[in-house]
Amino acid sequence: MGKSSIMKFFDSASSKSSARYALYLSSITFFFAVILIPPILGIVLKWNTMAETLGNPSLISRATAAIYASFAVAIFVSIVDVVAGLPAAWLITRGGLRWLRGLDTLVDIPFIIPTATLGYSLLLFWNSPEGISSLFEGSLVSPGWLLVILLHFAFSYPVVVRVMVGAILDYKREYEEAARTLGAPPFTADRTVTLPILKPSLIASFTLAFARSISETGATLMVAGAFENGPILINNLRTAQEVGYEGALVFVSFILIVISSLIFVIIRLLGPRLKMPVKKVWPVAERKLSDLRVSRLRNGFSLIVFFLLVLIPSLFVAVPAVYAVMNGTLNKALAGVGSWHGYWQSLILSYSVGAIATVINTIVGLPMAVLIARRRVGKTFSSLLDVLVNIPLIVPSIALGVSLSIFWENFAAMPEIGLLVLVHLSITYPYLVRSMAAAIERLNVRFEEAGRTSGGRPLTVFRTITLPLTKYSLFAGAIMVFTRSVSETGATLAVTKLETAPVLLVKWVNILRDIVESPIPITSSDVGLGCGILIVFSFIILMVSRTFTQRKGRY
């Protein structure tokens, strides 16, 4: 059969509702069997080991403190993200100046830099003698909770800005104008009208920042020092292999997964009911706050926060990368000498796993996105699926990894590379489904109806109408899957001895800082260049994705 006759066969098969439901059913089965159930079952299988941990008060108190630290950091950072990110998004969308478009691109940079690289970059900036500390005596910020907060702020801030820029651009400005014509000064109009209308996006950006913070492992490992949050504790326990570590692992993973899911469900249920205070107005004070000088001050503050706390620390790793070019490290790297042989292998592994995860998730994620967006399996079940697909987003990746490795241990035939791919599939699955479900939901159903009434079969309509109109979101979703997979560290550490690029970089940093011993020495130029190469690749991906996603007619 030729290509076109295969397509014809599938097109005509799609007219049968049994065929359509078989497709939906397989996509749901894949989701439950591969993405959702294994991490849960992994914990259930080791449930009995928890008894031992519960009888060890010192381990329990250490675990409780770590869990508390995880949530404290995530909630604090997400609140600061929203407070600092909203004015920046406002400045980008409303500033009315051409160079602000450049700022819009710069905001994405920390978002796509693999987090392990970001961690090292921040460490250099805040802690090393070459960084900002050179202005002071000794190191300005030592590894520990403060550096963890600075790090989490740097990588979750772009998420908030990105979401809020989109929301402000989509916002119908007439509401704000109506408030102004009714006598409200700009601050009052924004506070009582614009922000309440943007509330769903504010909540979404908070949730995403929270999820990023709670699940991050690789970069946190680099800057944590003696500080322990949930993922760091899991990693420390695994590395040390202390007595009863398995029970503690299960305990911490279980609590992190349950509380994260609970917080997510609570936000989802209570978010829409959350009322913002709009009735009370303070005309004199708010008029003063509407003053141009105040808004200039706010803009200046936003820029300082962005450059000083986010952009410069994130890109600081470029400094040793420049030295690396000059002192011969680049030649060593290109020749694959010493530790660099492993680097290129890890890079190939990272990008291969990323590509495989992207292809598989695109294939299995598309029917799920349609199913959620068009409520194909009943309103209630579709909404439930909509909530469930987010779970891998909010579960700490190392906890997910631990749980998955426990589950797949039972399948002796599973090769390590297979396990690695499965973990990456789980973690990246929501990005594609979320992005496409949102795009299809926004797409006017009448386009599809017009296609069907013109004689198109369901698959034909999907191929020729739905997909072309949502291809930018598909592309954006695929890019997110790929970059997230390439930068994934925590779960990878938990499931396999295979070294992806971020895992290798974490190891290099640990060798450099004498935390881990190695026969092959590592220099700061090596780490700098290793990170620099990842940034260059990420930057190329960002540029390509911008070219594709910013065209006209996107959904």
Partner: protein, 367 residues
């Protein structure tokens, strides 16, 4: 009392000139319409008056106060948006009392104003409803009540009836006019619907491509249009092209295509000038066969349609031009398609304009 004066106002968006050197005076307590096709700059002009956009050039005065640098919240205006812009997170009561609250009028006065306005628009019983629970007509009335409760003396309405069904639109336009009259406000109403503008305005400014072509009462615009576009846009007109063949003491004689000569009262053009004659469809007279009449032109009936109150007859003249005649259905003769007829019109019931430099079709185009 609010009188609005615009002096040489211009506004560009990139290369597009939205408002082009407009000067205009709107009198106190007047109901004034800005009328024109889509994209003519009428909404931009309204937004300039409201302070929602700033002019590139020119001055705006409200109550003799230069307001160019006054923000919208301090201009003392009420603005009704085309799709109402009712705050979706507030109920009817919170929407209507928003203005008094942000202006710090005190809770008692806010309540009094809100109550009065909601009673006036007959929606007091729906004060707990959210905008999503209201019909289009109700939303329009809430938007009006909200604009008025803010204590505005100058009401700006941007296509306020545009989103409504025809029947409700017709009812609400008179209601709107009555509110503005009763409350002794000045109203500026933007619309592209000439019937709506004619029905409710004291005066109308007809706009096209950022410029005001003519300002006048509905009667003046209909009875003596000063521009060929106005003759086309206000009401309906037939256009016949020709040359001024001769000018006598009382009238001009125009030679139409195909060697027809007609007489018109207008004497403003010179002999040899190319001109356009505009004649309203209800002015043209039509009779069976070839008759000797004032300004007779012969032709064939191409189409004859019954439209309820009127009949509409389209006639292809012997010179190739086409004209439309509208007559009361009950008191006029009915014609068969293809029957030969004589069309005529009184010389004083026609308008003559110099032939537009860029051609008639381009001059009459709505976009």
């Amino acid at each position: 009392m609010p009188e609005v004066r615009l002096e040489n106002i211009s506004k560009k968006y990139g290369k597009i000139i939205a408002v082009d050197n407009v000067s205009l005076q709107i009198r106190d307590k007047e109901y004034f319409c800005l009328l024109g096709p889509s994209g003519c700059g009428k909404t931009t002009l309204l937004r300039l008056i409201a302070g929602l956009v700033e002019p590139d050039k020119g001055e705006i005065y409200i109550e003799n106060r230069l307001v160019n640098s006054v923000p919208p919240e301090d201009r003392g205006i009420g603005y009704v948006f085309q799709d109402y812009a009712l705050f979706p997170h507030m109920n009817v009561w919170e929407n209507v009392t928003y203005g008094p609250r942000v202006k710090a009028l005190g809770s008692e006065e806010s309540e009094k104003l809100g109550r009065e306005m909601l009673e006036m628009v007959r929606l007091f019983e729906r004060l707990d409803a959210f905008p999503s629970e209201l019909s289009g007509g109700m939303m329009q009335r809430v938007a009006l009540a909200r604009a008025l409760a803010a204590g505005a003396r100058l009401l700006l309405l941007d296509e306020p009836l545009g989103a409504l069904d025809a029947k409700i639109r017709n009812e609400l336009r008179y209601e709107l006019r009555k509110f503005v009259n009763d409350l002794e406000l000045t109203g500026i109403h933007v619309t592209h619907d000439q019937a709506e503008a004619m029905a409710i305005s004291d005066r109308i400014a007809v706009m096209r491509k950022g410029k005001i072509l003519q300002v006048g009462t509905p009667k003046e615009l209909y009875m003596s249009p000063q521009h060929v576009f106005v003759a086309h846009f206000i009401g309906e007109s037939n256009f016949l092209e020709g040359y001024v063949s001769k000018i006598t003491e009382e009238e001009s004689i125009i030679e139409l295509r195909g060697g027809f000569f007609v007489r018109v009262s207008d004497r403003t053009n010179k002999e040899g000038d190319k001109v356009v004659i505009a004649i309203r469809p209800e002015v043209l007279r039509v009779e069976k066969g070839k008759k000797r009449r004032d300004n007779p032109v012969f032709g064939n009936v191409e189409e004859f349609r019954f439209e309820g109150t009127n009949v509409r007859c389209q006639i292809r003249l012997e010179n190739g031009d086409s004209v439309v005649i509208v007559r009361p259905a009950l008191t006029t003769d009915w014609f068969n398609v293809r029957s030969k007829v004589t069309v005529s019109f009184p010389p004083e019931k026609s308008f003559v304009f110099p032939y537009p430099k860029r051609g008639l079709k381009a001059e009459l185009a709505l976009e």
